[in-house]
Symmetry: C2
Subunit: 436 residues, 2 copies
């Protein structure tokens, strides 16, 4: 019998005391079993939000959430995965996974679906006809052994305590808490069994961490937690002031990923994918320096080896290879033209995601079906010189959506994209790298 | 249709923004209707606990909670009530009510039952055979008109939103929040229709507000809220480092109240009752100065007028007058003797309350029946010189409780009461008075 009570644990955190592993374990397990009420959980979460948690407490919470579900375990430094805090047009997983695998890294990737303005890796990959992401742990291990890269959908068996806690955070304004974000990300990543983790932490208008300061805090918190679990880790702070690459929308993003794997992708997407893959190669000890890793990663594209692995993964996971050259993109194209001369100065990224949801390319509520074919293709980036009447982006949609698209065109011209009279500097793609 | 969401309101308070009346009204009403979940309410309460509320917000919350239930309204400054934050042996209501009434004040008093270590005014008065406290508002007004003092039990019709909020605070460690305490007290007091309120704010080991600083903060918050409602108010910070008067336990406290009304009560209880009543008289404009009010109050005891009113109230509310001289006190008496020479230095008041609960004189859970006859009679106060073997208190109990009482005697000797070798100063009964 433990002497713990929900009341005393809430009171401790409220009074800025550090919680012990046993206290956190008892509280979370009692929430899962229903012994502690959701209104006590939400009170604790708000106290954590406002009073914070130490690195040790964050690691305890991560461990307890991790232990609430299924766990995989792999031996060796070369099992490395990447996690991104998410952003518009972020399809880097499809590119860096095969690149890293081509360089000798084992990439056990478990990803989620999209909700609200953020798209999901699993939704995107399902644009490939037949591609299966519901994989049990036996099959997961087999595929990883065979292909070096496996992409699976998250199940409720992984860190179920995180599912419960997240559902409460989501409706009590306690999402943006560094320790809670850290424990949520790390409990799921650690369940995959990877021994190295590369974090892509986005900053800017379309991201979770609005400021570089907050992004750095999150990076440090994640690295600190990784250290407590004896994992190697690196965190890259990367730009999310504009979509990554040019294409946004499920099929369009797979299309662009294939282009990039073939060496024909946009510069920002290629550079970021190579850089993240390079850190994976470094953590996997398949290169001595980042510079060396970078060269290996570029070579994996040039040689066609990365694309070959991608095709092998598609085939092994049930996807039709023929569909790769024939991805379903909506037939109707509407071009959004610039309304003035100047320089492209900003994107409202979250709004871009929401317009995609309006077109059916994302979901408003969990479980909703999505239309993989719709999306946007951007022709301009921040800093580009713009002439009035010049195409800024193309909207891919269905003919019956014409009235909606008319509104979306207006939104892009008047609200989402800004054009400045004076010259605008291009944003730096990678602003900071932290490593342990 | 309002645009408010629970999420946004929680987020505002979390970000230290001031909530508007409309936001607080929407949130509380949505909690009562079940539209907002309890886990959202508890998140907001924790955010309020940690980030506080302005005087305006506190008044808004008070108003919303007040408006959630039945309200009485009386015209005239002479409708004045008292509220105490509660303490061991606090039976001042039974004494100051009749005193104030004897001086021309109308006292519409609604009180609660005890739970845990604190006793309840309603439980105590029910020691008088037949005394009824379940009174509807029509009868309440009639009795107030006839007797000038009426004592009624709180019903669920008064400030039901407070009931809901309190039940969540109670299990989420958010009780000791000055704005939440203020709104809880004031919503109930304002529902009585009194136009002046005298607050008895206890400080010390057996009280809600452990330090004089916190007690002063609560006093200021309550006076600030009273001002927002155009009520006159005074707050007295009074000592709760030891039981008030000598007797603790339901029948015993009524017995001591009668003694005090007859002018034969202990000094501290008499002085405090007179002082609180004097401020009621002052707020009621039945005296020009506290000094004048004090003289009137003392006279009300001396002349027998206060006791006469008390008897009238007892009779009107169904109580048997004969039982006043024959209150049921448990037959078996056990004396707790001092184990050493010295000076009485401290009481653990909350423990005294809990030992009364052990004897059956209080309740552990809502709704539990209580034994009015058991209790304690203290023969010594803090600062008194003590001789080893001298009686410190008498325990009134039933013969069958002998083993339990043996343990309680030991608790008193070894834990609850401390005796110091060096001289101890007597605590000051009233440390501060604030008034608007």
């Amino acid at each position: 019998m433990s002497d713990f009570t929900a009341y005393n644990i809430i009171a401790s955190k409220k009074n800025k005391k550090e919680l012990s592993f046993e206290e956190i374990k008892w509280f979370v397990e009692s929430c899962v079993s229903g012994k502690v009420h959701k209104y006590q959980l939400s009170a604790l979460l708000m106290a954590i939000y406002l009073n914070g948690m130490t690195t040790e407490e964050t690691a305890h919470l991560t461990k307890v959430m991790l232990d609430s579900g299924e766990k995989l375990k792999f031996s060796g430094a070369h099992y490395v995965d990447k996690h991104s805090t998410g952003g518009i047009g972020d399809k880097a997983s499809f590119i860096l996974g095969p690149i890293a695998a081509a360089c000798g890294v084992k990439v056990p990737m478990i990803a989620g679906r999209g909700l609200g303005h953020t798209g999901g890796t699993i939704d995107k990959v399902e644009s490939i006809e037949g591609f299966k992401t519901a994989i049990n742990s036996k099959k997961f291990k087999e595929l990883l052994k065979k292909n070096d890269f496996v992409l699976s959908a998250q199940t409720k068996k992984i860190a179920p305590a995180d599912g419960l806690i997240y559902s409460i955070r989501d409706v009590t304004a306690t999402i943006e808490s560094i320790p809670l974000i850290t424990a949520s990300i790390m409990s799921k990543k650690l369940a995959e069994g990877a021994n190295g983790i590369v974090m892509d932490i986005k900053t800017g208008s379309g991201s979770f961490m609005k400021t570089p300061k907050r992004a750095t805090e999150l990076a440090k918190s994640i690295l600190g937690t990784a250290k407590q679990f004896n994992k190697s880790a690196a965190a890259l702070l990367t730009d999310m002031s504009q979509p990554l690459g040019n294409k946004v929308g499920n099929s369009l993003e797979i299309l662009e990923s294939v282009q990039t794997l073939k060496g024909e992708g946009p510069k920002d997407l290629t550079d970021l994918s190579v850089e993240l893959a390079a850190y994976m190669v470094l953590l996997a000890k398949k290169a001595k320096t980042v510079k060396e890793a970078r060269v290996k990663c570029r070579d994996a594209i040039k040689s066609g080896k990365a694309y070959e692995i991608f095709r092998k993964v598609v085939k092994s996971q049930g996807g039709k290879l023929a569909s790769l050259d024939n991805l379903k993109v909506a037939k109707k194209e509407t071009i959004v033209k610039a309304k003035s001369n100047g320089y492209l100065s900003s994107f409202k990224n979250a709004e871009i995601g929401l317009r995609l949801v309006d077109l059916g390319g994302g979901r408003k509520v969990t479980g909703q079906k999505i239309d993989h074919s719709v999306g946007f293709d951007f022709h301009k980036k921040i800093g580009d010189k713009i002439k009035k009447g010049e195409p800024i982006l193309t909207i891919y949609h269905h003919a019956k959506q014409n009235p909606l698209v008319k509104k979306i065109v207006k939104d892009f011209q008047e609200d989402i994209i800004s054009i400045s009279k004076s010259k605008v500097q291009k944003p730096k793609l990678i602003s900071k790298v932290l490593k342990i």
